[in-house]
Amino acid sequence: MSKGFASNYRMVILATGIFLCFGGVSARLACLQVVKRTELLKYVEQARRSFVVENARRGNIRATRWGAEGALDIDEILDASRIRAKGALETDEILATSRTLVDVGLDPHMLRREDEVRWPDLARLLGLTLTDLRATVARRAPETAEDDGPDAKPVQWVKLAEGVDETIFDRINELKIRGVYGNRVYRRVYPRNSLAAHVIGYVNREGTPAAGVEHYMDFFLRGQNGWRESERDGRRQELAQFRTREVPPVDGFDVVLSIDTYVQHLIEKELQQIAEKYSPAKATIIVSQASTGYILGLANYPTFNLNEFSKAPLDAQRNFAVTDVYEPGSTFKIVAASGALNDGLVTRDSAFDCGLTEIDYHGRHLHLPREDHPFHELTVAEIICHSSNRGAAQLAMLLGDQRFYAYTRAFGFGQKTGFPFGGEVVGLLESPKHWDGLTITRMPMGQGAIAATPMQMHCAMGAIANGGVLLEPQLFREVRDADNKLVFAFGDLPRRRVVSERTAATMARLLMAVASPEGTAPEAAVRGYEVAGKTGTTEKLVDGRYSTTHHVASFVGFFPASRPRVVLSVIVDDATVPKSLGGIAYGRVVAAPAFHDIAMQLIQYLDIKPVTEPPGNRLAMQGGRW
């Protein structure tokens, strides 16, 4: 082996130098990694560690377009898979959604003079005047003498505009004005403003669901926030390669309501017309599907804009359909009549003397309530048709206190209907042991020991429309994930059988007569559609006495009577009726025409076939001119 350059002492020096360098590096490493490890790690943890929470997107609240399914039979409607195959659910409409908005502001100290030429564009995009913008920018200096102290901090963030759209913010960014930047915030928006406001509820500014579906279905809607742990550099930028742990966010589910936006709009429009015409204190309209209890529309007057909920008085935010009670009046007569028919105590042709003013009952001599019109002998069918108070009282007496009370409970009075939110109240129903001598004569006509919510009365009528089975009002149809896959489907919720199917069918026929020319509400009739229903006109209690000028007018019914599709309730509280229309807010005057108008529109929209062909239709078919 040749001596090579290794024999040179300089090589020894070089080698020594290299080893010394290595030694130096090793020593430094040892110092950093061993001696100062704890101190440095603490610093790194503080300075570089980054923990970022990724917000989950809150799910949408969607409506259903029942009109798109109108051509289907009811069994087909319940078969969700077929509905999807037909693409009906693709037309679902959004009632509440989440989106990001940008709060745009500026740091006055970062502004450059050369950017001032672009300020007019900035002002235009933000909807400000250039003068306002300049005034805002001038806040660079402390505004008051108190702010001018030694501890005063310079103004670093001046808000220019709140809730700016993403597209506008993109255009602001394109201006490239240094110092102008934005903070993104998630906001809940309600694209249809006041539509179904009492049902949807809202999420407040702090992001807390405060009312309605937003609150009740928050578990499904809110999703689950994700997070990631990583490091950031000296410029506070995330070093993506140092992401150590990451949990992706899970977006909230969409909640599909049974509410139909068209039906909802229809009844809100009708309420608006009622409000303009009769200036009521409040009013409620409820529409539901007869066989399932799905609520197609629920509207109250007065209402409020969901996007401006903070401006709405708390009173207007109450869902009167479940929070307020009223004496149901003559609509309640269905209980006594159904009970007596169901127990076989009477037939539709059984006759009662409705001209009596007094009657003996269990050894007591009772005064019967007065009638609006004098009657003599009326059959059960006529008692319903003409809404005889004395007839209803005699039917209840035939049942007896306990049976009448049992039927009242069975129809759902004095207990919650199961409407899931909104602070539902149970109403008022006294047990027979608390009844006074007159209760058995007054309660059958919906006065005295009974007070119900509009929803309770609606469900009671729904039981007759549904062949005698009382249903819970069902507001939800489905829960779907972000990929529109079905997570959970809600069905109908039967509570109990109240009367037999036969009794329900008989009652439906009797109630049809109410909307006939002989009945109390011919205004509600729709030719060919067998409208069945009952009017109600209740005198309101004012200062402890029944008033003759303040009434609750109602019409609660369903159609077509022989195969009910829709249950519809119109309840108007304290309407002011002009003298030309009689001056008294009868159900016939105020509520029945509204029922008719809504029914006419629902027939078209839900494609409800007539039970009997209108004459014009038959002629057209025979003439073959179609």
Binding site: M1, K3, G4, A6, S7, M11, V12, A15, I18, R57, E93, I94, T97, S98, R99, T100, D165, E166, T167, R184, V189, P191, R192, N193, L195, E238, L239, A240, Q241, R243, T261, Y262, H265, V526, R527, M600, Q601, I603, Q604, Y605, K609, P610, E613, P614, G616, N617, A620, M621, G624, W626
Partner: protein, 129 residues
């Protein structure tokens, strides 16, 4: 140990050291390159996700705007401003046709064909097979 043997040993140590330096240097550079590539890929990934989030934000905005534009109030305003006069049909305007409309139209257009089709099968007296 004589001097030449010691030199040879130092020589060998130097050569091995240099080889090791080159080797570890390569590994070091490789590692740095790899980490750089990981960093680039991670940043690309992050940018893509940022972009996706941005697209999602725009999509959310679009969805909200479409929903607002489809609201009944907005449609009524549009109908009014464009003077379209759109309205739901009235009951009197609707003629309901029972049965299958297509079948009836086809039967009307081709009466012979459809009459023949629905003739019940039968034998003619005295006919031949």
């Amino acid at each position: 140990m004589n001097k030449s043997a010691a030199n040879a040993f130092i020589n060998q140590v130097l050569v091995y050291t240099l080889v090791m330096l080159v080797f570890t240097g390569s590994i070091g550079f490789g590692t740095v390159w790899l980490r750089h590539e990981i960093s680039l890929a991670a940043n690309r990934n992050k940018n893509l996700r940022t972009h996706l989030a941005e697209v999602q934000r725009h999509l959310d905005q679009l969805i909200a705007e479409i929903a607002a534009a489809q609201s009944p109030d907005a449609l009524i305003r549009l109908d009014s401003s464009m003077r379209l006069g759109l309205d739901m049909p009235r009951q009197e305007q609707i003629q309901r046709v029972p049965g299958d409309v297509e079948q009836q139209l086809a039967a009307r257009r081709n009466p012979d064909l459809f009459v023949a089709e629905i003739q019940p099968a039968g034998f003619r007296r005295g006919g031949t097979r």
